[in-house]
């Protein structure tokens, strides 16, 4: 789960990482009021879950009171990378002496928690890593020590980024806080880009990015409320609440599958055969009747869905349980589109017996089911 800059900065503050003041505004009037209390000049920054806001025109530097309302209106009218801007962060503009990059991430390839630093900030770190890897400083930390390291552990790292000893000490302290924040919130990424030194030489997190581990949200009920449901597809929220994994696509063939890999492969087959999937939908392992009902509900209310393709390979999921869910879904809703089903694996015979006499059309293989779905009004 991605956090907005303003949410990340609030957590930074809580963990002792220095950040500029700031206020969230949803209207030009709010932004004007915020700027008045913060003092000019200010930066108006779009709050969206995507990088490259500056290039997209989502960050404006304003030094006169008269310009704030119109600049805010412009930014609020933007859609950046598919995300409509619904709020901005108003924050005092800061004079920058120097920019750095610091992050802590879970490096899945190295299977390590790693601090990354760079003496240039405000950059695309992946590009720098490719083009000038010598500028990147890395520091791996054992996971069980993450939240308990002292500043001394980071001295060497910090001194490579800061020539000034006081500043290096300040950076090492910030790195300790980043580690505590990571453990305290189960973040998979904490990024400060840029971390700046102001004209007085003090370090300040000018931007903030935090990605939280979805798997760990159960132990952080307080962070749950930070999810920005405004930016989400309502059906994605609903299906998540039902315990399904759903992603909307552009096509006409609704897909209901058990297992993420098989769900992706099913979509791929549909496309390979000339159709277009309407969605990714994984009803999960051990899919219960309720989940199957919820899956049908969300597909049936989408008018673009012309045909439904169900692909179940029973393992931990039992075909008879899925079949009972199908029967309930057919009972509870008015299914007007053809439904092709491929059902195999654990308790397959029981599942087929339960579905006998229903309107579902059986196919023996995934490719057979997909081909028939594509031919029945699903071709792209």
């Amino acid at each position: 789960m991605k956090l907005h800059e303003y949410q990340a900065k609030a957590l930074f503050k809580e963990y002792g990482i220095p950040v500029p003041e700031g206020t969230v505004a949803r209207t030009p009037a709010d932004a004007v009021a915020a700027a008045e209390s913060l003092g000019l000049p200010v930066a108006i920054k779009a709050q969206v879950h995507i990088g490259g806001r500056g290039k997209a025109g989502g960050v404006k530097l304003i030094d006169d009171a008269a310009g704030i309302a119109s600049a805010t209106e412009t930014v609020l009218g933007l859609t950046i990378g598919g995300f409509p801007v619904t709020k901005v962060l108003v924050t005092p503009a800061v004079d920058i002496e120097k920019e750095l990059y610091v992050s802590l991430l879970i490096d899945r390839n190295a299977r390590k928690a790693v601090y990354i630093g760079c003496e240039e900030g405000g950059i695309d770190i992946e590009t720098v890593a490719r083009t000038s890897p010598e500028k990147i400083v890395r520091c791996e930390v054992p996971a069980h020590r993450l939240g308990e390291l002292q500043a001394g552990f980071f001295t060497e790292f910090a001194e490579r980024l800061c020539d000034d000893a006081t500043q290096a000490a300040e950076l090492a302290t910030i790195m300790v806080s980043i580690g505590e924040l990571c453990v305290g919130t189960d973040a998979s990424l904490v990024e400060i880009n840029p971390l700046i030194a102001d004209t007085a030489g003090s370090l300040l997190a000018l931007d903030a990015k935090i990605v939280l581990d979805d798997n760990a949200l159960f132990r952080h009920p307080d962070l749950f409320s930070l999810r920005d449901e405004e930016l989400e597809d309502p059906d994605e929220i609903r299906t998540r609440e039902a315990g399904l994994s759903f992603v909307r696509m552009e096509g006409t063939i609704g897909c209901i599958v058990n297992g993420a890999g098989l769900a992706m492969a099913t979509m791929d087959v549909v496309k390979h055969l000339g159709g277009a999937p309407a969605n990714f939908l994984d009803i999960g392992g051990g899919a219960s009747r309720d989940k199957v009902v919820a899956a049908f509900e969300v597909l049936l209310k989408d008018p673009r869905v012309k045909v439904i393709l169900v692909n179940i390979f029973g393992g931990i999921t039992r075909c008879d349980e899925v079949a009972r869910g199908m029967v309930a879904a057919l009972d509870e809703s008015d299914v007007q589109v053809p439904v092709f089903i491929r059902l195999t694996g654990t308790n397959e015979e029981d599942g087929r017996a339960i579905l006998e006499g229903t309107q579902l059309i059986f196919a023996e293989t995934l490719e057979d089911a997909a081909a028939r779905a594509v031919n029945t009004g699903g071709a792209a």
């Binding site: 995507i50 879970i106 899945r108 390839n109 299977r111 390590k112 928690a113 992946e126 054992p142 996971a143 069980h144 993450l146 990571c182 453990v183 189960d186 998979s188 581990d213 979805d214 798997n215 760990a216 159960f218 132990r219 994994s245 992603v247 696509m249 599958v257 058990n258 297992g259 993420a260 890999g261 098989l262 769900a263 992706m264 492969a265 979509m267 791929d268 087959v269 549909v270 496309k271 390979h272 999937p277 990714f280 994984d282 999960g284 392992g285 051990g286 390979f313 029973g314 393992g315 931990i316 999921t317 195999t344 694996g345 654990t346 293989t365 995934l366 490719e367």
Partner: protein, 286 residues
Amino acid sequence: MSILVSADTRVIVQGITGRDGSFHTARMIEYGTRIVGGVTPGKGGQTKQGVPVFHSVPEAVAATEAEVSIMFVPAKFAKGAMLDAASADLKLLIVITEGIPTLDVLEAYEALSARGTRLIGPNCPGIISPNACKIGIMPADIHASGRTGLISRSGTLTYEIVKGLTVAGMGQSTCIGIGGDPIIGSTFVDLLPLFEADPETESVVIVGEIGGRDEVVAAEYIRDHMEKRVVAFVAGLTAPQGKRMGHAGAIVGGEEDTASAKIEKLEDAGIPVARMVSDIVRLLDA
């Protein structure tokens, strides 16, 4: 023949008294796997599916001489259970549980590695060596004994592919589900050398998906170090950027972890990549 496990492997089940643990213990025993005990803290002394239950993994290992554990413990308690396993010096720990916090997995992985215990998973279907040993949740009857090895990041997609192999008369030496999480204990390159060295394995199928670089690393390894035929499949050609596709690890972050980038890297390394599941059999035969 097989890698990692055999008909003689002695196995304990962590979380044996839970719904899934108990159900799959029965299926594994049915298959002929030597399940010698189970572990549920607080329930030591009981018997489940005909085997003794112990409070801790070291206790179970001392009593049963088990060398492998399969874990069904719920995500909330998984770290403790994995650290318990790490303290018992097992050869192998297979974690079926889905949804374990990444930092927990990382910490447990570090502890297990330090003690020389190999981790498979989490969030995986386990390992099967057909007709010899099943330590996992996969449906048994789709498998047949043979000479193809398989390593996959997925569960049900693996079943789909295995069934295709079996129907085509291509039995399997060992099939390993490595899991769909961002941090997994064993990746393709950790296991490919075992198949390369196994005299009974003739060819290997690797099944990848979007997210991470494991397939790219595997492509380089296969090109430089493997004589045996390897065929690949990568799920997620239609997956949009930035959306998590079910598995915690299946998310396209940048250009390099898309299915098409991975397919390109694999093909550049001379590894045939199937576009349809049914093509795998044809490519293995070619």
